[in-house]
Protein backbone atom coordinates (compact mmCIF):
# COMPACT_ATOMS: atom_id res chain seq x y z
CA UNK A 1 0.00 0.00 0.00
CA UNK A 2 2.66 2.49 0.99
CA UNK A 3 4.66 1.52 -2.05
CA UNK A 4 1.69 2.36 -4.24
CA UNK A 5 1.20 5.83 -2.81
CA UNK A 6 4.87 6.53 -3.13
CA UNK A 7 5.00 5.55 -6.74
CA UNK A 8 1.85 7.53 -7.45
CA UNK A 9 3.29 10.70 -6.00
CA UNK A 10 6.81 10.49 -7.22
CA UNK A 11 6.51 11.08 -10.93
CA UNK A 12 4.13 13.99 -10.44
CA UNK A 13 5.99 15.67 -7.63
CA UNK A 14 9.50 15.00 -8.80
CA UNK A 15 10.01 14.13 -12.42
CA UNK A 16 13.41 12.60 -13.09
CA UNK A 17 16.27 15.04 -13.06
CA UNK A 18 16.98 14.36 -16.71
CA UNK A 19 13.47 15.43 -17.66
CA UNK A 20 13.70 18.82 -16.04
CA UNK A 21 17.20 19.65 -17.12
CA UNK A 22 17.83 20.74 -20.67
CA UNK A 23 20.02 18.14 -22.32
CA UNK A 24 23.72 18.59 -21.86
CA UNK A 25 23.49 20.69 -18.73
CA UNK A 26 25.73 19.96 -15.83
CA UNK A 27 23.77 17.79 -13.38
CA UNK A 28 24.34 16.52 -9.88
CA UNK A 29 22.62 13.14 -10.30
CA UNK A 30 25.37 11.62 -12.48
CA UNK A 31 28.02 12.90 -10.07
CA UNK A 32 26.14 11.18 -7.26
CA UNK A 33 26.18 8.03 -9.40
CA UNK A 34 29.94 8.21 -9.88
CA UNK A 35 30.39 8.79 -6.14
CA UNK A 36 28.16 5.81 -5.34
CA UNK A 37 30.53 3.59 -7.28
CA UNK A 38 33.57 5.07 -5.54
CA UNK A 39 31.96 4.50 -2.18
CA UNK A 40 31.23 0.86 -3.02
CA UNK A 41 34.87 0.38 -4.05
CA UNK A 42 36.17 2.26 -1.02
CA UNK A 43 34.25 0.00 1.33
CA UNK A 44 36.45 -2.81 0.01
CA UNK A 45 39.74 -0.94 -0.02
CA UNK A 46 39.66 1.54 2.85
CA UNK A 47 42.18 -0.34 4.96
CA UNK A 48 45.18 -0.30 2.59
CA UNK A 49 44.20 3.14 1.30
CA UNK A 50 44.08 4.55 4.80
CA UNK A 51 47.29 2.82 5.80
CA UNK A 52 49.21 4.26 2.85
CA UNK A 53 47.73 7.71 3.14
CA UNK A 54 48.33 8.07 6.87
CA UNK A 55 51.45 6.07 7.60
CA UNK A 56 53.64 7.45 4.80
CA UNK A 57 53.35 11.15 5.68
CA UNK A 58 53.64 10.34 9.36
CA UNK A 59 56.88 8.42 8.82
CA UNK A 60 58.22 11.27 6.69
CA UNK A 61 57.25 13.73 9.38
CA UNK A 62 58.87 11.73 12.16
CA UNK A 63 62.05 10.97 10.21
CA UNK A 64 62.67 14.48 8.96
CA UNK A 65 61.05 16.32 11.84
CA UNK A 66 62.82 14.50 14.63
CA UNK A 67 66.00 13.49 12.76
CA UNK A 68 66.70 16.54 10.64
CA UNK A 69 64.92 18.78 13.13
CA UNK A 70 67.59 18.10 15.78
CA UNK A 71 70.17 19.58 13.37
CA UNK A 72 68.05 22.38 11.98
CA UNK A 73 66.54 23.58 15.23
CA UNK A 74 64.13 26.32 14.19
CA UNK A 75 63.02 27.74 10.84
CA UNK A 76 61.53 31.22 10.64
CA UNK A 77 61.01 31.19 14.38
CA UNK A 78 59.10 27.90 14.38
CA UNK A 79 60.26 24.54 15.64
CA UNK A 80 61.22 22.47 12.58
CA UNK A 81 58.74 19.66 13.26
CA UNK A 82 55.93 22.23 13.44
CA UNK A 83 57.11 23.89 10.23
CA UNK A 84 57.38 20.51 8.55
CA UNK A 85 54.09 19.14 9.93
CA UNK A 86 52.18 21.94 8.26
CA UNK A 87 54.16 21.46 5.04
CA UNK A 88 53.62 17.72 4.91
CA UNK A 89 49.87 18.25 4.94
CA UNK A 90 50.38 19.68 1.47
CA UNK A 91 52.63 16.90 0.16
CA UNK A 92 50.18 14.35 1.53
CA UNK A 93 47.35 16.09 -0.33
CA UNK A 94 49.44 16.14 -3.50
CA UNK A 95 50.22 12.43 -3.35
CA UNK A 96 46.75 11.26 -2.36
CA UNK A 97 45.19 13.24 -5.21
CA UNK A 98 47.64 13.31 -8.10
CA UNK A 99 48.50 9.59 -8.10
CA UNK A 100 44.90 8.32 -8.09
CA UNK A 101 44.00 10.98 -10.66
CA UNK A 102 46.83 9.86 -12.89
CA UNK A 103 46.99 6.11 -12.43
CA UNK A 104 43.52 4.95 -11.36
CA UNK A 105 41.89 7.06 -14.04
CA UNK A 106 44.21 5.66 -16.69
CA UNK A 107 43.59 2.06 -15.65
CA UNK A 108 39.83 2.54 -15.55
CA UNK A 109 39.74 4.24 -18.91
CA UNK A 110 42.18 2.06 -20.84
CA UNK A 111 42.17 -1.37 -19.22
CA UNK A 112 38.86 -1.71 -17.41
CA UNK A 113 36.67 0.20 -19.91
CA UNK A 114 34.78 1.50 -16.87
CA UNK A 115 34.17 4.92 -18.35
CA UNK A 116 32.73 3.51 -21.58
CA UNK A 117 30.10 1.81 -19.44
CA UNK A 118 29.34 4.99 -17.50
CA UNK A 119 29.09 7.19 -20.58
CA UNK A 120 26.54 4.80 -22.06
CA UNK A 121 24.39 5.69 -19.02
CA UNK A 122 23.07 9.25 -18.67
CA UNK A 123 26.47 10.59 -17.58
CA UNK A 124 28.51 13.10 -19.57
CA UNK A 125 32.28 13.46 -19.54
CA UNK A 126 32.24 16.69 -17.52
CA UNK A 127 30.15 15.03 -14.81
CA UNK A 128 32.31 11.92 -14.85
CA UNK A 129 35.49 13.96 -14.45
CA UNK A 130 33.96 16.13 -11.72
CA UNK A 131 32.71 13.08 -9.85
CA UNK A 132 36.03 11.25 -9.97
CA UNK A 133 37.96 14.37 -8.90
CA UNK A 134 35.50 15.16 -6.08
CA UNK A 135 35.89 11.73 -4.60
CA UNK A 136 39.68 11.93 -4.68
CA UNK A 137 39.46 15.43 -3.17
CA UNK A 138 37.30 14.15 -0.32
CA UNK A 139 39.93 11.57 0.56
CA UNK A 140 42.68 14.22 0.33
CA UNK A 141 40.63 16.49 2.58
CA UNK A 142 40.40 13.84 5.29
CA UNK A 143 43.79 12.13 5.00
CA UNK A 144 45.61 15.44 4.61
CA UNK A 145 44.83 16.23 8.24
CA UNK A 146 46.83 13.27 9.58
CA UNK A 147 50.26 14.98 9.61
CA UNK A 148 48.74 18.01 11.32
CA UNK A 149 47.33 15.81 14.06
CA UNK A 150 50.78 14.25 14.55
CA UNK A 151 52.40 17.71 14.66
CA UNK A 152 49.85 18.72 17.31
CA UNK A 153 50.98 15.65 19.23
CA UNK A 154 54.50 17.07 19.03
CA UNK A 155 53.43 20.30 20.63
CA UNK A 156 52.09 22.38 17.73
CA UNK A 157 49.42 24.56 19.38
CA UNK A 158 45.98 23.68 18.01
CA UNK A 159 43.86 26.56 16.75
CA UNK A 160 40.28 27.04 15.58
CA UNK A 161 41.56 28.11 12.18
CA UNK A 162 42.88 24.58 11.69
CA UNK A 163 39.27 23.50 11.13
CA UNK A 164 39.71 25.10 7.70
CA UNK A 165 42.49 22.65 6.79
CA UNK A 166 40.09 20.02 5.37
CA UNK A 167 38.61 22.72 3.12
CA UNK A 168 42.05 23.81 1.94
CA UNK A 169 43.08 20.18 1.44
CA UNK A 170 39.87 19.40 -0.47
CA UNK A 171 40.31 22.34 -2.82
CA UNK A 172 43.98 21.59 -3.46
CA UNK A 173 43.25 17.88 -3.84
CA UNK A 174 40.45 18.63 -6.31
CA UNK A 175 42.89 20.62 -8.42
CA UNK A 176 45.62 17.99 -8.38
CA UNK A 177 43.18 15.16 -9.02
CA UNK A 178 42.04 17.05 -12.12
CA UNK A 179 45.67 17.62 -13.08
CA UNK A 180 46.27 13.88 -12.79
CA UNK A 181 43.15 13.08 -14.82
CA UNK A 182 44.17 15.56 -17.49
CA UNK A 183 47.66 14.09 -17.74
CA UNK A 184 46.39 10.50 -17.66
CA UNK A 185 44.43 11.32 -20.81
CA UNK A 186 47.33 13.18 -22.38
CA UNK A 187 50.01 10.50 -22.02
CA UNK A 188 50.39 8.14 -24.97
CA UNK A 189 51.10 5.09 -22.78
CA UNK A 190 51.36 4.06 -19.15
CA UNK A 191 55.17 4.01 -19.43
CA UNK A 192 55.32 7.72 -20.23
CA UNK A 193 53.82 8.45 -16.81
CA UNK A 194 57.38 8.22 -15.48
CA UNK A 195 58.04 11.60 -17.08
CA UNK A 196 55.17 13.06 -15.10
CA UNK A 197 56.03 11.38 -11.83
CA UNK A 198 59.71 12.44 -11.90
CA UNK A 199 59.47 15.58 -13.98
CA UNK A 200 56.30 17.12 -12.56
CA UNK A 201 55.35 15.65 -9.21
CA UNK A 202 58.83 15.69 -7.64
CA UNK A 203 59.57 19.39 -8.31
CA UNK A 204 55.97 20.25 -7.37
CA UNK A 205 56.33 18.86 -3.89
CA UNK A 206 59.87 20.10 -3.25
CA UNK A 207 59.61 23.67 -4.58
CA UNK A 208 56.59 24.69 -2.55
CA UNK A 209 57.97 25.65 0.84
CA UNK A 210 57.13 22.24 2.25
CA UNK A 211 60.53 21.23 3.67
CA UNK A 212 62.25 24.62 3.66
CA UNK A 213 61.02 28.20 3.20
CA UNK A 214 61.13 29.38 -0.40
CA UNK A 215 62.92 32.64 0.48
CA UNK A 216 66.14 30.64 0.77
CA UNK A 217 65.82 29.76 -2.95
CA UNK A 218 67.28 31.75 -5.86
CA UNK A 219 64.96 34.42 -7.25
CA UNK A 220 63.87 32.44 -10.32
CA UNK A 221 62.96 29.43 -8.18
CA UNK A 222 60.90 31.69 -5.93
CA UNK A 223 58.91 32.77 -8.96
CA UNK A 224 58.41 29.14 -9.94
CA UNK A 225 57.27 28.32 -6.42
CA UNK A 226 54.64 31.04 -6.50
CA UNK A 227 53.17 29.57 -9.68
CA UNK A 228 53.07 26.18 -7.96
CA UNK A 229 49.54 25.69 -6.56
CA UNK A 230 50.97 23.58 -3.76
CA UNK A 231 52.83 26.62 -2.43
CA UNK A 232 49.50 28.39 -1.89
CA UNK A 233 48.19 25.33 -0.09
CA UNK A 234 51.28 25.28 2.15
CA UNK A 235 50.92 28.97 2.97
CA UNK A 236 47.26 28.55 3.86
CA UNK A 237 47.80 25.51 6.05
CA UNK A 238 50.73 27.20 7.77
CA UNK A 239 48.54 30.25 8.18
CA UNK A 240 45.95 28.29 10.12
CA UNK A 241 48.66 27.23 12.56
CA UNK A 242 50.84 30.34 12.75
CA UNK A 243 48.42 33.10 11.75
CA UNK A 244 47.89 34.87 8.42
CA UNK A 245 46.12 38.11 7.59
CA UNK A 246 42.78 37.53 5.83
CA UNK A 247 43.74 39.47 2.71
CA UNK A 248 46.80 37.32 2.03
CA UNK A 249 44.81 34.18 2.80
CA UNK A 250 42.12 35.23 0.33
CA UNK A 251 44.81 35.76 -2.29
CA UNK A 252 46.21 32.28 -1.79
CA UNK A 253 42.75 30.74 -1.90
CA UNK A 254 41.91 32.65 -5.07
CA UNK A 255 45.08 31.22 -6.62
CA UNK A 256 43.85 27.71 -5.76
CA UNK A 257 40.42 28.40 -7.25
CA UNK A 258 41.99 29.72 -10.44
CA UNK A 259 44.13 26.58 -10.61
CA UNK A 260 41.05 24.39 -10.21
CA UNK A 261 39.21 26.28 -12.94
CA UNK A 262 42.05 25.88 -15.42
CA UNK A 263 42.73 22.18 -14.80
CA UNK A 264 39.00 21.36 -14.79
CA UNK A 265 38.74 22.66 -18.34
CA UNK A 266 41.91 20.83 -19.40
CA UNK A 267 40.83 17.55 -17.81
CA UNK A 268 37.33 17.63 -19.32
CA UNK A 269 38.66 18.61 -22.74
CA UNK A 270 41.34 15.93 -22.81
CA UNK A 271 39.11 13.17 -21.41
CA UNK A 272 36.42 13.97 -23.95
CA UNK A 273 39.00 13.67 -26.73
CA UNK A 274 39.94 10.23 -25.48
CA UNK A 275 36.48 8.90 -24.61
CA UNK A 276 34.33 10.26 -27.43
CA UNK A 277 35.41 9.73 -31.00
Amino acid sequence: MSADTRSAERPAAAPGPAAKAPPGRFELAPIAGVLAREWALYRRSWKPTTFASVVEPVIMLLAFGVGLGSLVGAIGGYEYIHFLGTGIVATSVLFTSMFPGLIDTYVRRVFQHTYDGMLAAPVDVRELVTGEASWIACKAGVYGCAPLVVAIGFGLPASWAMLLVPVIAFTTGFGFALTGIWMSAAVPSIKTMDYIISGVITPLFLIAGTFFPIDTLPAWAQVVAKINPLYHCVELVRGTAFGLDPGTAAGHFAALIAFVAVVWCLAVFQMRRKLID
Partner: protein
Protein backbone atom coordinates in the same frame (compact mmCIF):
# COMPACT_ATOMS: atom_id res chain seq x y z
CA UNK B 1 10.07 11.64 -18.60
CA UNK B 2 9.85 9.51 -15.58
CA UNK B 3 12.84 7.78 -14.18
CA UNK B 4 10.67 5.62 -12.03
CA UNK B 5 11.43 2.88 -14.47
CA UNK B 6 7.92 1.91 -15.53
CA UNK B 7 7.67 3.46 -18.92
CA UNK B 8 6.19 0.62 -20.83
CA UNK B 9 2.80 -0.85 -20.10
CA UNK B 10 2.52 -4.19 -18.38
CA UNK B 11 3.77 -6.99 -20.59
CA UNK B 12 1.34 -8.07 -23.28
CA UNK B 13 1.59 -11.69 -22.25
CA UNK B 14 2.19 -13.58 -19.10
CA UNK B 15 5.81 -13.36 -18.03
CA UNK B 16 7.72 -15.88 -20.04
CA UNK B 17 10.16 -16.52 -17.26
CA UNK B 18 8.54 -19.34 -15.31
CA UNK B 19 10.41 -18.93 -12.05
CA UNK B 20 10.68 -15.17 -12.02
CA UNK B 21 7.62 -13.56 -10.42
CA UNK B 22 7.87 -10.65 -12.84
CA UNK B 23 4.17 -9.92 -12.61
CA UNK B 24 4.48 -8.56 -9.11
CA UNK B 25 6.84 -5.87 -10.34
CA UNK B 26 4.21 -4.38 -12.56
CA UNK B 27 1.95 -3.63 -9.60
CA UNK B 28 3.07 -0.05 -9.46
CA UNK B 29 2.27 0.60 -13.08
CA UNK B 30 -1.46 1.18 -12.68
CA UNK B 31 -0.61 3.39 -9.73
CA UNK B 32 1.09 6.02 -11.83
CA UNK B 33 -1.01 6.44 -14.93
CA UNK B 34 -0.71 10.22 -14.71
CA UNK B 35 3.03 10.06 -14.56
CA UNK B 36 3.26 7.61 -17.41
CA UNK B 37 0.82 9.54 -19.57
CA UNK B 38 2.63 12.80 -18.93
CA UNK B 39 5.96 11.22 -19.56
CA UNK B 40 5.29 9.62 -22.89
CA UNK B 41 4.55 12.62 -25.11
CA UNK B 42 7.49 14.49 -23.63
CA UNK B 43 9.78 11.60 -24.44
CA UNK B 44 8.59 12.05 -28.01
CA UNK B 45 7.86 8.40 -28.57
CA UNK B 46 4.43 8.03 -30.09
CA UNK B 47 3.46 4.41 -30.40
CA UNK B 48 4.36 2.79 -33.68
CA UNK B 49 7.25 5.16 -34.25
CA UNK B 50 10.76 3.96 -34.79
CA UNK B 51 12.76 3.38 -31.65
CA UNK B 52 15.87 4.17 -33.63
CA UNK B 53 16.24 6.03 -36.90
CA UNK B 54 19.48 6.76 -38.75
CA UNK B 55 19.52 8.79 -41.95
CA UNK B 56 22.53 9.01 -44.24
CA UNK B 57 24.91 8.59 -41.34
CA UNK B 58 28.61 8.78 -42.15
CA UNK B 59 31.48 8.14 -39.78
CA UNK B 60 35.11 8.36 -40.85
CA UNK B 61 38.28 7.58 -38.97
CA UNK B 62 40.92 9.41 -40.96
CA UNK B 63 40.86 7.94 -44.45
CA UNK B 64 38.80 4.91 -43.37
CA UNK B 65 35.04 5.18 -43.67
CA UNK B 66 33.53 2.97 -40.97
CA UNK B 67 29.90 3.88 -41.60
CA UNK B 68 29.06 4.99 -45.09
CA UNK B 69 25.69 6.65 -45.58
CA UNK B 70 23.79 4.32 -43.26
CA UNK B 71 19.99 4.32 -43.27
CA UNK B 72 18.36 2.24 -40.59
CA UNK B 73 15.00 2.16 -38.86
CA UNK B 74 14.31 -0.04 -35.88
CA UNK B 75 10.57 -0.32 -35.19
CA UNK B 76 9.54 -0.09 -31.55
CA UNK B 77 8.95 -3.45 -29.88
CA UNK B 78 11.03 -5.58 -32.22
CA UNK B 79 14.19 -7.57 -31.72
CA UNK B 80 16.40 -6.23 -34.45
CA UNK B 81 19.57 -8.04 -35.47
CA UNK B 82 22.46 -6.20 -37.04
CA UNK B 83 24.46 -8.88 -38.77
CA UNK B 84 27.82 -8.52 -40.38
CA UNK B 85 31.47 -9.51 -40.26
CA UNK B 86 34.03 -7.80 -38.05
CA UNK B 87 34.77 -4.36 -39.41
CA UNK B 88 31.37 -3.92 -41.05
CA UNK B 89 30.63 -0.90 -38.82
CA UNK B 90 28.28 -2.56 -36.31
CA UNK B 91 30.08 -1.44 -33.17
CA UNK B 92 30.64 2.06 -34.51
CA UNK B 93 26.92 2.29 -35.24
CA UNK B 94 26.14 1.15 -31.69
CA UNK B 95 28.51 3.74 -30.24
CA UNK B 96 26.92 6.50 -32.27
CA UNK B 97 23.53 5.68 -30.75
CA UNK B 98 24.87 6.54 -27.28
CA UNK B 99 26.85 9.53 -28.62
CA UNK B 100 30.11 7.87 -27.61
CA UNK B 101 31.06 8.23 -31.22
CA UNK B 102 30.01 11.32 -33.18
CA UNK B 103 28.82 11.00 -36.77
CA UNK B 104 30.50 13.19 -39.36
CA UNK B 105 27.18 13.73 -41.08
CA UNK B 106 23.62 12.44 -41.09
CA UNK B 107 20.81 12.37 -38.56
CA UNK B 108 20.28 10.03 -35.63
CA UNK B 109 17.14 9.80 -33.51
CA UNK B 110 16.83 7.47 -30.53
CA UNK B 111 13.46 7.12 -28.78
CA UNK B 112 12.44 10.41 -30.34
CA UNK B 113 15.48 12.29 -29.08
CA UNK B 114 17.96 13.77 -31.53
CA UNK B 115 21.43 12.37 -30.91
CA UNK B 116 23.97 13.63 -29.93
CA UNK B 117 22.12 16.87 -28.97
CA UNK B 118 19.65 15.24 -26.56
CA UNK B 119 21.61 12.05 -26.15
CA UNK B 120 21.53 12.12 -22.38
CA UNK B 121 17.73 11.79 -22.35
CA UNK B 122 17.97 8.95 -24.80
CA UNK B 123 20.60 7.24 -22.65
CA UNK B 124 18.40 7.59 -19.57
CA UNK B 125 15.69 5.56 -21.32
CA UNK B 126 17.85 2.85 -22.86
CA UNK B 127 20.11 0.15 -21.56
CA UNK B 128 23.45 -0.68 -23.11
CA UNK B 129 25.32 -3.95 -22.89
CA UNK B 130 28.88 -3.42 -24.05
CA UNK B 131 30.98 -5.83 -26.03
CA UNK B 132 33.86 -5.47 -23.57
CA UNK B 133 33.13 -6.83 -20.15
CA UNK B 134 33.59 -3.90 -17.78
CA UNK B 135 32.17 -5.24 -14.53
CA UNK B 136 33.80 -4.01 -11.35
CA UNK B 137 35.82 -7.05 -10.37
CA UNK B 138 36.22 -6.18 -6.70
CA UNK B 139 32.52 -5.55 -6.20
CA UNK B 140 29.90 -8.19 -5.55
CA UNK B 141 27.18 -9.02 -8.04
CA UNK B 142 24.69 -7.01 -5.99
CA UNK B 143 27.04 -4.02 -5.70
CA UNK B 144 27.69 -4.00 -9.43
CA UNK B 145 23.95 -3.74 -10.00
CA UNK B 146 23.45 -1.18 -7.23
CA UNK B 147 26.04 1.14 -8.75
CA UNK B 148 24.11 1.15 -12.00
CA UNK B 149 20.81 1.89 -10.26
CA UNK B 150 22.53 5.11 -9.19
CA UNK B 151 23.98 5.83 -12.62
CA UNK B 152 20.57 5.19 -14.19
CA UNK B 153 18.88 7.31 -11.52
CA UNK B 154 16.47 4.73 -10.21
CA UNK B 155 14.70 6.53 -7.33
CA UNK B 156 16.07 5.60 -3.91
CA UNK B 157 12.90 3.79 -2.85
CA UNK B 158 13.05 1.48 -5.87
CA UNK B 159 16.74 0.64 -5.93
CA UNK B 160 16.62 -2.49 -3.82
CA UNK B 161 13.66 -3.79 -5.81
CA UNK B 162 15.43 -3.04 -9.10
CA UNK B 163 18.53 -4.95 -7.97
CA UNK B 164 16.43 -7.93 -6.86
CA UNK B 165 14.60 -8.00 -10.14
CA UNK B 166 17.86 -7.96 -12.09
CA UNK B 167 19.22 -10.78 -9.94
CA UNK B 168 16.15 -12.86 -10.72
CA UNK B 169 16.35 -12.12 -14.44
CA UNK B 170 19.96 -13.24 -14.52
CA UNK B 171 19.31 -16.24 -12.23
CA UNK B 172 22.01 -14.97 -9.93
CA UNK B 173 19.98 -14.71 -6.70
CA UNK B 174 22.19 -17.18 -4.86
CA UNK B 175 25.36 -15.53 -6.18
CA UNK B 176 24.34 -12.01 -5.16
CA UNK B 177 27.11 -11.60 -2.62
CA UNK B 178 29.85 -13.20 -4.66
CA UNK B 179 32.56 -10.96 -6.07
CA UNK B 180 32.30 -10.47 -9.82
CA UNK B 181 35.75 -11.95 -10.41
CA UNK B 182 34.54 -15.26 -8.95
CA UNK B 183 31.79 -15.70 -11.56
CA UNK B 184 31.97 -18.03 -14.55
CA UNK B 185 32.02 -16.57 -18.05
CA UNK B 186 28.33 -17.17 -18.60
CA UNK B 187 27.34 -15.67 -15.26
CA UNK B 188 29.49 -12.62 -15.92
CA UNK B 189 27.76 -12.06 -19.22
CA UNK B 190 24.32 -12.47 -17.66
CA UNK B 191 25.27 -9.93 -15.02
CA UNK B 192 26.58 -7.58 -17.69
CA UNK B 193 23.28 -7.81 -19.55
CA UNK B 194 20.94 -7.29 -16.59
CA UNK B 195 23.15 -4.44 -15.34
CA UNK B 196 21.85 -2.53 -18.37
CA UNK B 197 18.25 -3.36 -17.45
CA UNK B 198 18.03 -2.11 -13.84
CA UNK B 199 16.04 0.98 -14.89
CA UNK B 200 13.62 -0.98 -17.08
CA UNK B 201 14.68 0.62 -20.33
CA UNK B 202 12.38 0.80 -23.35
CA UNK B 203 15.29 0.08 -25.64
CA UNK B 204 18.27 -2.20 -25.13
CA UNK B 205 21.45 -2.19 -27.19
CA UNK B 206 23.36 -5.45 -27.14
CA UNK B 207 26.75 -5.29 -28.82
CA UNK B 208 27.85 -8.85 -29.66
CA UNK B 209 26.20 -10.23 -26.52
CA UNK B 210 27.49 -13.77 -26.92
CA UNK B 211 30.86 -13.31 -28.58
CA UNK B 212 33.49 -15.65 -27.17
CA UNK B 213 31.03 -17.79 -25.23
CA UNK B 214 30.58 -21.49 -25.74
CA UNK B 215 27.37 -22.60 -27.50
CA UNK B 216 25.67 -23.80 -24.33
CA UNK B 217 26.15 -20.50 -22.54
CA UNK B 218 25.05 -18.69 -25.67
CA UNK B 219 21.73 -20.51 -25.55
CA UNK B 220 21.25 -19.50 -21.91
CA UNK B 221 21.54 -15.88 -22.93
CA UNK B 222 19.07 -16.26 -25.74
CA UNK B 223 16.40 -16.97 -23.14
CA UNK B 224 17.13 -13.63 -21.54
CA UNK B 225 16.72 -11.80 -24.85
CA UNK B 226 13.49 -13.64 -25.59
CA UNK B 227 12.18 -12.55 -22.18
CA UNK B 228 12.87 -8.92 -23.10
CA UNK B 229 10.88 -9.29 -26.27
CA UNK B 230 7.95 -10.64 -24.26
CA UNK B 231 8.04 -7.48 -22.16
CA UNK B 232 7.75 -5.29 -25.25
CA UNK B 233 11.26 -3.92 -25.01
CA UNK B 234 12.93 -2.94 -28.27
CA UNK B 235 16.23 -4.74 -28.71
CA UNK B 236 18.97 -3.85 -31.15
CA UNK B 237 21.52 -6.61 -31.18
CA UNK B 238 24.69 -6.74 -33.22
CA UNK B 239 26.13 -10.15 -33.91
CA UNK B 240 28.26 -12.07 -36.31
CA UNK B 241 26.61 -15.37 -35.40
CA UNK B 242 24.21 -16.30 -38.15
CA UNK B 243 22.26 -18.73 -36.00
CA UNK B 244 21.77 -16.15 -33.28
CA UNK B 245 20.34 -13.63 -35.70
CA UNK B 246 18.06 -16.21 -37.32
CA UNK B 247 16.69 -17.46 -34.03
CA UNK B 248 16.26 -14.27 -32.09
CA UNK B 249 15.67 -11.43 -34.47
CA UNK B 250 12.27 -10.43 -35.81
CA UNK B 251 14.05 -8.35 -38.40
CA UNK B 252 17.67 -8.46 -39.48
CA UNK B 253 19.79 -6.00 -41.37
CA UNK B 254 22.84 -7.33 -43.13
CA UNK B 255 25.68 -4.89 -42.88
CA UNK B 256 28.87 -4.76 -44.93
CA UNK B 257 31.42 -2.00 -45.41
CA UNK B 258 29.40 0.51 -43.40
CA UNK B 259 26.12 0.06 -45.25
CA UNK B 260 22.97 -2.03 -45.00
CA UNK B 261 22.90 -4.45 -47.94
CA UNK B 262 19.59 -6.13 -47.10
CA UNK B 263 16.95 -5.80 -44.45
CA UNK B 264 13.93 -7.93 -43.62
CA UNK B 265 12.45 -10.88 -41.77
CA UNK B 266 15.10 -13.65 -41.81
CA UNK B 267 12.80 -16.19 -43.50
CA UNK B 268 11.83 -13.72 -46.23
CA UNK B 269 15.43 -12.80 -46.92
CA UNK B 270 16.37 -16.45 -47.17
CA UNK B 271 13.46 -17.24 -49.47
CA UNK B 272 14.31 -14.31 -51.68
CA UNK B 273 18.07 -14.51 -51.93
CA UNK B 274 18.95 -18.14 -51.16
CA UNK B 275 15.78 -20.13 -51.76
CA UNK B 276 14.21 -22.53 -49.32
CA UNK B 277 16.55 -25.32 -50.39
CA UNK B 278 20.20 -25.15 -51.17
CA UNK B 279 22.03 -28.13 -52.62
CA UNK B 280 25.65 -28.83 -51.98
CA UNK B 281 27.70 -30.70 -54.56
CA UNK B 282 31.15 -32.07 -53.89
CA UNK B 283 33.65 -30.39 -56.16
CA UNK B 284 36.77 -31.92 -57.62
CA UNK B 285 40.02 -30.11 -57.00
CA UNK B 286 41.61 -28.11 -59.80
CA UNK B 287 40.10 -26.29 -62.79
CA UNK B 288 37.15 -28.65 -63.07
CA UNK B 289 35.39 -26.79 -60.24
CA UNK B 290 35.41 -23.51 -62.12
CA UNK B 291 33.97 -25.29 -65.12
CA UNK B 292 31.06 -26.62 -63.04
CA UNK B 293 30.45 -23.14 -61.62
CA UNK B 294 30.26 -21.72 -65.12
CA UNK B 295 27.81 -24.34 -66.21
CA UNK B 296 25.50 -23.60 -63.29
CA UNK B 297 25.82 -19.84 -63.80
CA UNK B 298 24.83 -20.33 -67.43
CA UNK B 299 21.57 -21.83 -66.18
CA UNK B 300 20.92 -18.56 -64.26
CA UNK B 301 21.67 -19.94 -60.81
CA UNK B 302 23.90 -18.60 -58.06
CA UNK B 303 26.58 -20.68 -56.40
CA UNK B 304 29.01 -20.19 -53.62
CA UNK B 305 31.97 -22.21 -52.44
CA UNK B 306 31.37 -23.85 -49.09
CA UNK B 307 34.60 -25.60 -48.24
CA UNK B 308 34.93 -28.78 -50.29
CA UNK B 309 31.45 -28.35 -51.72
CA UNK B 310 29.71 -25.98 -54.05
CA UNK B 311 26.35 -24.70 -52.80
CA UNK B 312 23.71 -24.01 -55.37
CA UNK B 313 21.12 -21.53 -54.15
CA UNK B 314 17.47 -21.79 -55.16
CA UNK B 315 18.12 -25.49 -55.76
CA UNK B 316 14.45 -26.07 -56.51
CA UNK B 317 14.96 -24.20 -59.77
CA UNK B 318 17.73 -26.42 -61.11
CA UNK B 319 16.60 -27.33 -64.65
CA UNK B 320 16.46 -31.00 -65.55
CA UNK B 321 19.19 -30.66 -68.15
CA UNK B 322 21.60 -29.40 -65.52
CA UNK B 323 20.33 -31.85 -62.96
CA UNK B 324 21.29 -34.72 -65.26
CA UNK B 325 24.88 -33.64 -65.47
CA UNK B 326 25.24 -32.63 -61.79
CA UNK B 327 23.67 -35.65 -60.23
CA UNK B 328 22.12 -35.48 -56.78
CA UNK B 329 23.65 -33.12 -54.25
CA UNK B 330 22.88 -33.01 -50.55
CA UNK B 331 19.99 -30.69 -49.88
CA UNK B 332 19.86 -28.37 -46.90
CA UNK B 333 17.81 -25.35 -45.85
CA UNK B 334 18.95 -21.95 -47.01
CA UNK B 335 20.36 -19.66 -44.32
CA UNK B 336 21.38 -16.08 -43.75
CA UNK B 337 24.98 -16.95 -44.48
CA UNK B 338 23.93 -17.84 -48.03
CA UNK B 339 22.11 -14.53 -48.29
CA UNK B 340 25.04 -12.61 -46.95
CA UNK B 341 27.64 -14.20 -49.18
CA UNK B 342 25.44 -13.84 -52.21
CA UNK B 343 24.94 -10.16 -51.60
CA UNK B 344 28.40 -9.15 -50.49
CA UNK B 345 30.83 -11.85 -51.52
CA UNK B 346 32.03 -11.82 -47.90
CA UNK B 347 31.61 -14.36 -45.17
CA UNK B 348 30.13 -13.30 -41.86
CA UNK B 349 31.85 -15.48 -39.32
Amino acid sequence: MSLSGHRHPPGPAEPSDPDGPEGSLDLSVPADPAGAAAARPRAGADPGASAIALREVVKRFGAFTAVDGLNLEVPAGTVFGLLGPNGAGKSTTMKMLTAQSRADSGEITVLGHPVPRASKRARAEMGVVPQHDNLDEELTVRENLAVFTHLYRVPRARRAEAVDRALRLAHLEDRADLRADKLSGGMRRRLLIVRGLVHRPRLVLLDEPTVGLDPQVRQELWGLITALRAEGVTVLMSTHYIEEAERLADVVALMAKGRIVARGVPADLIARYAGSTVEEFPIPPGPAAAEIEERIAAAGLTTRRTGATLSVLHAGEIPDSLRDSLGAGSARAGNLEDVFVTLTGERVE
